[in-house]
Structure formats: structure tokens, C-alpha cells
């Protein structure tokens, strides 16, 4: 059964024909749209490495069938920076050593972007840790990750305040 979908990925409209409905968003991104930044860890919803935003909300791309996404807007790690200008969450991960091997990092960063947009964790480290619990890090860079998310939360809030002033 072939299926045609149209979705926006990192701002660009992509028309995709799937030759069968089994393709997950994760495999679509990595293997058909040449966007390998989104990582495959467990492929079963248990690690968060595949986290992307759909219509601004963070989800696990490995459990999302691409066929369900007709008309959706997807943001991946490749879509965060503006040219050489890093997104504040990306910059904060570098400043705070929020990674070691880096494999979980795209998922961590996308999850943090989603968490900050949700706006409920604020600057409480415990709420940030809880909010980021869907992203495992085998290198256990958790301390740096929490510091990075805290810092990015503050930077994004300051930027917003400056823009609305």
C-alpha cells in the first residue's frame, strides 16, 4: 500500500511517498530525508535519543508512524541553529559540558527545547531533572545537562523579555 504525505521539516515542505506504512518518523528522517542528526538508541520509546518536535511538542520519533504526519510540522536538531548562530539550548550544552560521547545529545537538546517551551519546570533543578527523565545518557552527563537546561531557560526568558520590551 503506497501512501503520499506532505509535511514540513525544519521549515521546508517535503512531499514523501511511502511504499508501505511501516516507516517510522525516525527512519524517514535518517534514511530518506538525509537528516541523520536524530539518533536511534532503543527504537522502543525507552531512551529519548530520537526526540523531535511535532507541531512544537516533543515526542519519540521511533514510535511515530510517518503515515500519521500528513500536514505536520517537524523540527529536528538540524533545524535549530540559524546558520552559524547556535540555538540558546545548543550553546548552553557546550558551555556546561552537557555531553561526553554526544550520542544522546540531539535528543537531549530537542527534549530541552520542548520542556522549556512547555514552561512548567522553571528554574527548579528537580523539576528540570524530572522533565528530562525521558532522555537517558549512557555517559551520565546528567549534571551538565541539568545545568545547561537551567542556563538555557534563563537565557531564553531574558531574550523574550528583551524582545517584548
Amino acid at each position: 500500500m503506497s501512501l503520499s504525505i506532505s509535511l514540513t521539516v525544519n521549515g521546508a515542505v517535503r512531499d514523501v511517498t511511502l511504499n508501505d506504512a511501516r516507516v517510522t518518523l525516525l527512519d524517514l528522517l535518517r534514511e530518506r530525508l538525509a537528516l541523520p542528526g536524530t539518533k536511534k538508541g532503543c527504537d522502543r520509546g525507552q531512551c529519548g535519543a530520537c526526540t523531535v518536535l511535532i507541531d512544537g511538542r516533543r515526542i519519540n520519533a521511533c514510535l511515530t508512524l510517518a503515515a500519521t504526519l500528513d500536514g505536520a510540522e517537524v523540527t529536528t536538531i538540524e533545524g535549530l541553529a540559524c546558520g552559524d548562530m547556535l540555538h540558546p539550548v545548543q550553546a548552553a550544552f557546550i558551555d556546561h559540558d552537557g555531553f561526553q560521547c554526544g550520542y544522546c545529545t540531539p535528543g537531549q537538546i530537542m527534549s530541552a527545547v520542548g520542556l522549556i517551551a512547555e514552561g512548567r519546570a522553571g528554574t527548579d533543578p528537580e523539576r528540570i531533572r524530572e522533565g528530562m527523565s525521558g532522555n537517558l545518557c549512557r555517559c551520565s552527563a546528567y549534571h551538565g545537562i541539568t545545568e545547561a537546561v537551567l542556563d538555557a531557560t534563563t537565557r531564553i526568558a531574558a531574550e523574550k523579555a528583551r524582545k517584548s520590551a
Partner: protein
């Protein structure tokens, strides 16, 4: 994963008409797609119900009950301010389950229908009566640490993994469903089934019936000031319950005038014991009383393997949840929902 057809009908009527034997409704896919990857579920057709109109709303009905559409996402329900104020225990149960990402995808209907986490069930190379009737049960004599201690049968010792459903059972929700025979309502107590000789029949839903909504009666909101969901797990977040408890009290003049208590992850359905609740009513909320009620709640429990510890843990989590409920619902959702660690219940 097996090959399957995919369809996204535009109305409830069209969805019901699209159902054929072997088809499955697709909600957020967080359970179904996972089990299709292992091969434990092999539907020939997926009927995507997530965009059905009118089922993504939370509304108050004229009789004061709250109706939650089956397609409302778990995160949206837990964070709906009005809902969380009226049913803080349900919100806490939801937020103690899975992760931020999964809750954004998971639907109310899918949560009710999620399958057991028994590892042998998920693995098609293991014998499992629930997956293949009559095949046997490789869990028995296998890894039984997380298995049922109440209501199990020789055919199946698996538990229902949902946190949400434990709180819903305590608050006497009803489930609205529709099939080719029309609409009907199922009381939550009758929704999930104990295994008996037919573990493959997991719920009261008939083949081809679709969950449309969930309803919480007006009285359920009367427990808002004194209710908690507590959950023990192997790590503080992003883990299924080893045991859990939903406890809700209505206090008046220093006495308990109404009480609800349900245990989670101990049986194939949320475990609510009317006699334990009856012990509480009319009494002053005191430790000795909570200990008696908790003991009553696990009366009849028996290990189904190397899991006798779960009986004691269930008894203790029931005492903790009743104690926390009597202290009062926290003003703000705890930073670690349903955890016995971290900040005290009262903040």
C-alpha cells in the same frame, strides 16, 4: 513489523465502519507500535483515530460530571488547570507515568487499553496464554519479580501497568464506547478483567468497539482536597510501578466521611477493595486505622513466584498514600509526581 493497511477516517461512524477483524485502533502508537516492532501484535489494518473530530475535548456536562475525549493526550489532560484542580490525584498518576515525550503522544483511550508489560508477552518467542490462548506461560517459573500478587490465575500472572487507571478506578470513572451495535457505557470496575482461564480477554470492550470518552462523576471532585497517588518503582522517574496506590478521603469535622483506595501493579486490573474503604468511613484519620485498611486491601494476596515482597510493598504504599491524602493534597504538583522521595507532601 508485519505489513498492514493504514487508514485515517474522518468521522466516528466512518472509523467504526472501517473496522474488520484483525484491525486495531491507532492512538499515539506508544504501545501498539512498540508491540508491532517485537511482533507481539500483528494487526492487518491500523485505523488512525487521533484526528476524529470532537474527541479531543475536556468538558463539564450538565450533571456536573467531567467528560474527557478519548483522543485527549495524557500530557494535556494532566496539565489542564481545571482538571488538575478537580482531580489532582488523576493528574499526579498521569505525570508519574512514562516521560514528557510519551505523555505528549499517548491518548486517554490508548492508556486504558495499553497491554501488560510482561516481558514474555512482548516476546513472540516465549509461550504466552495472553498472546496465544493455550500456548502456556513462560513467566511462571521465570522472572516473576514484578508479577501479580492478587487476582492472578494459573493461566496468567501479569499485571496491568497503567498508573492513570488506578486513579480512575478509585474515582469510579465510566467509559463511553461505540461499536456497530451503538453506544454503551462501562463502569470502570468492569472495564479491565482478571485472567481466569481466558487471559486473552483483557477488557469488556467488544471487538470493533471504540472508546469515545471517559467520564468522572461530579462526586469524584469532592476528594480534591485530600487525595494522593503514590508509586514505588526501580528509579524515581520514567519507570513502571512495582506497586502503587491511589487514596482519596473526604474529611468532615475530624472524621472520614468517604474513602477510596485502589492499588496498582498488583493484578491484571486496578485493585479496589470495598471492605478496606468501609473500614475507613466514620473514623478519625489515624495511623492505626490506615494500617488496618491497608492490610484489608491486600487480604488474600499470594505470591505468583518470587514476588512475596510485593505484598508487603503494596501494604506499605497504601498506608503512605492514605497518610499523605489525610495530610492534604499539595497546593502544587510535587516536583517528583507520585514519589515517596523528595519534598514532603505538604508544600
Amino acid at each position: 513489523m508485519n505489513l498492514f493497511d493504514y487508514t485515517r477516517p474522518a468521522s466516528v461512524e466512518a472509523a467504526i465502519a472501517a473496522w474488520v477483524p484483525g484491525a486495531a485502533w491507532l492512538g499515539g502508537g506508544t504501545n501498539l507500535v512498540d508491540l508491532m516492532k517485537t511482533g507481539a501484535m500483528q494487526p492487518g489494518k491500523l485505523i488512525d483515530v487521533t484526528r476524529l473530530p470532537g474527541l479531543d475535548r475536556i468538558e463539564t456536562l450538565p450533571d456536573g460530571s467531567t467528560r474527557i475525549g478519548a483522543m485527549v493526550r495524557n500530557a494535556d489532560l494532566a496539565h489542564d488547570a481545571g482538571f488538575a484542580r478537580a482531580f489532582p490525584m488523576v493528574a499526579e498518576a498521569l505525570l508519574s507515568g512514562a516521560s514528557g515525550q510519551l505523555r505528549n503522544a499517548a491518548t486517554v483511550g490508548g492508556n486504558l487499553m495499553q497491554r501488560t508489560r510482561c516481558a514474555y508477552f512482548a516476546d513472540p518467542h516465549s509461550a504466552c496464554n495472553r498472546r496465544t490462548p493455550g500456548a502456556g506461560c513462560d513467566a511462571r517459573g521465570g522472572d516473576t519479580g514484578g508479577m501479580a500478587v492478587l487476582g492472578w490465575s494459573p493461566a496468567c500472572i501479569a499485571t496491568n501497568p497503567s498508573d492513570f487507571c488506578v486513579a480512575l478506578a478509585a474515582l469510579e470513572a465510566t467509559v463511553e464506547v461505540q461499536g456497530t451495535g451503538g453506544k454503551r457505557e462501562i463502569a470502570f470496575a468492569d472495564f479491565h478483567r482478571l485472567p481466569g482461564d481466558t487471559p486473552e480477554i483483557e477488557t469488556a470492550l467488544q471487538p470493533g468497539e471504540l472508546i469515545l470518552a471517559l467520564r468522572l462523576p461530579a462526586e469524584a471532585a469532592q476528594f480534591a482536597a485530600n487525595s494522593r497517588y503514590l508509586k514505588l518503582r526501580e528509579r524515581t522517574s520514567y519507570a513502571f510501578a512495582l506497586v502503587s496506590a491511589a487514596a482519596a478521603l473526604r474529611l468532615d469535622g475530624g472524621r472520614i466521611v468517604a474513602a477510596r483506595l485502589a492499588l496498582g501493579a498488583v493484578a491484571a486490573k486496578p485493585w479496589r477493595v470495598a471492605s478496606a474503604e468501609a473500614l475507613l468511613v466514620g473514623q478519625a484519620p489515624e495511623p492505626a486505622l490506615f494500617a488496618r485498611a491497608a492490610a484489608e486491601a491486600v487480604a488474600g494476596a499470594a505470591p505468583s513466584g518470587e514476588n512475596a515482597h510485593k505484598i508487603e510493598l503494596a501494604r506499605r504504599i497504601a498506608v503512605r498514600a492514605l497518610t499523605a491524602a489525610a495530610q492534604g493534597t499539595p497546593d502544587r504538583m510535587p516536583a517528583l509526581p507520585a514519589s515517596v522521595f523528595g519534598e514532603p507532601a505538604h508544600v
